[in-house]
Amino acid sequence: MSIFVTPDKCVGCGVCVGSCGNGAIEMKDNVPVFDLEKCIMCGACVQACPCEAITIDAGKSAADDLSAYKGVWVFGEQRDGKAAEVVFELIGIGRKLADDRNTDLSVVILGDNIDEAVEKIAAYPVDKIYVCKDKSLANYDAERYCKVLTEVVREYKPEILLAGATTTGRSFMSGVAINLYTGLTADCTGLAIGEDGLLQQTRPAYGGNIMATILCPYTRPQMATVRHKVFPISPKRESGAAEIINVSPKAELLTSRSEILDFIADMSEKVNIVDADIIISGGRGLGCPENFAVVRELADEIGAAVGASRAAVDAGWIPYAHQVGQTGKTVCPKLYIACGISGAVQHLAGMSSSDTIIAINKDKNAPIFDVADYGFVGDVLEILPLVVKKIKAARGL
């Protein structure tokens, strides 16, 4: 691995010196000189250079025949035989990527009683569905799913493999990428095919303060988990049919060192805030746990899920599963209503990519108003009950 300057391109501006986080660059005779003891080959200077004069040669090339890999695949995540909503979003963007690459779109699904899910998926514009059925695959198990999907990918060699950035997708796709020695980009919010035919994977980092575009140039498949609710659900197919390919996983792939004993659904309220189209969140401004009732009431009226700021969760007002933000969940619903939430950066990191944001807060200088499309400066405890009353009146209740 080496880093070097092309002197003909360098104009001696010195921008690279300031870009280096490690103090590894010095200008000598108007040309940057790299201190290789300090340089970590991070590439910051390569990007900073306005003249494209700096090159890092990773000494890499493809080890495999990449042209053997064809097609775009979507992981057909299911629970209890029901396909997850994100699968249909992935079919939408996957179809576009496949068309741009002039190739097929397939879904690969693992499970047991999944005929219904397969049938539902087949109604969408996918070319093939790879079905791996076994009793032991009925429920998600990281080890089993990892081994089986690795094997199927090795056999059928897709060029691109997408999964939802769910707790399932995020935890086992990583292992698949390890087994295949290929790249996996987490939680993508943008996917496109570049001129060079590579998948450009764009994702937020640093709590959404940075967007990074990532490539996987030398290995296949190019793998990404994709954030829920970013891409629209695909329209259904207009014609044709999906080819079903049954794959029987080998017995030795179906072993695991863990087992599911029980599943405790959170029945208390709609807690899966990541799936919700509308989220109403409460924060410290509610004053006490009882006042969450005000938020819940409006949530019930408009079919929203209830979220919370870290302050409310840490105070023990509402369980952690509801927490939105850096140490909680990242959500991007169609509508996010922040009630009594000041909008600390950590909270904004988890919700600022929502389509529309409404904020209600007493403090007109609260940072939440900087991201809100509609800001209401007032007491949430007074405003919300009035709104609920109006809704009920409008419905003739």
């Binding site: 087992e259 599911i260 405790i264 952690y320 850096q326 900087d370 991201v371 007032g378 405003i383």
Partner: protein, 265 residues
């Protein structure tokens, strides 16, 4: 039981700035911290150690990180919070590693430590990937469980735990050795004790190079990483929209109308 906890030193805030001239992250003067999720992982590691030791199985917690020499600060802090010793994987060869190479390098170190149980935070607040923990399990060929919210039972050969998923909790039994990642709900981390602070000051931090952990140099660093970051940018700010002030009644009317226009009512 040999318990290990992986930690990452991250910027003190994610409010990072990009230098508009150079289009790179401004790193100067940025304070660091232990990744918040790793504090829960560390606390749980120390609690399991205390549980196992009380049950007659003398156990230790070794905290491990990969990073530059400065990452030693994070390791010392971890010792003040209850870890017994610390390992820093520090080698220029591993710089620029993506999640594949990071997990590989950590796994090499953890193998050398003969870890029975490895704790990681669910993700780091800078990279936000959540991929390294589960990947370590695959590199080490152990059992795994991600997003743990509770360890209800543990002995020398297996544990029973609750995983937080989108729809609720999954109760799983996991054989050891295992790699697990934890969510914030699992515990409330302790603050450093005076004894812990003293121990942190005195501690001898073990520093291992890639060669020490027998890592294949072709599988680490920028060279070994399958992914390449080709562009970074700050997303366009949303900017505030309409802001309404006034009487409660007026505001409620306006909010009602807004919701109605959006067809949520």
């Amino acid at each position: 039981m040999k318990i290990c906890c992986c930690i990452k030193q991250v910027p003190g805030t994610t409010e990072v700035k990009i230098n508009p001239e150079t289009n790179t992250l401004v790193r100067e003067g940025v304070e660091t911290q232990i990744n918040p999720f790793d504090l829960y992982a560390l606390e749980e590691a120390v609690r399991v150690k205390e549980r196992m030791t009380a049950a007659g199985d003398p156990s230790t917690v070794t905290v491990i990180t990969m990073g530059p020499p400065q990452a030693e600060d994070a390791l010392r802090e971890a010792i003040s919070l209850g870890a017994d010793d610390a390992v820093l994987l520090c080698d220029r060869a591993v710089a620029g590693s993506d999640t594949w190479c990071t997990s590989y390098t950590l796994a090499c170190g953890l193998k050398k430590l003969n870890a029975d149980l490895v704790f990681c935070g669910m993700q780091a607040i800078d990279g936000d990937t959540g991929q390294v923990g589960p990947a370590i399990a695959v590199h080490m060929d152990t059992a795994q469980a991600a997003y743990l919210a509770e360890i209800s039972d543990i002995n020398g050969s297996e544990m029973t735990a609750r995983r937080l998923t989108e729809e609720g909790y999954e109760v799983v039994k996991v054989k050891l050795p295992a790699v697990v990642t934890v969510v914030k709900e699992i515990n409330e981390p302790r603050t450093p004790s005076l004894r812990g602070k003293m121990a942190a000051k005195k501690a001898q931090i073990t520093v291992w190079s890639a060669a020490d952990i027998e890592a294949d140099v072709d599988k680490v660093g920028l060279k070994g990483s399958p992914t390449q970051v080709v562009k970074i940018m700050t997303p366009p700010g949303r900017g505030g929209g309409d802001k309404f002030e006034g009487e409660t009644e007026e505001l409620a009317d306006k909010l009602f109308d807004t919701l109605k226009t959006m067809e949520v009512i």
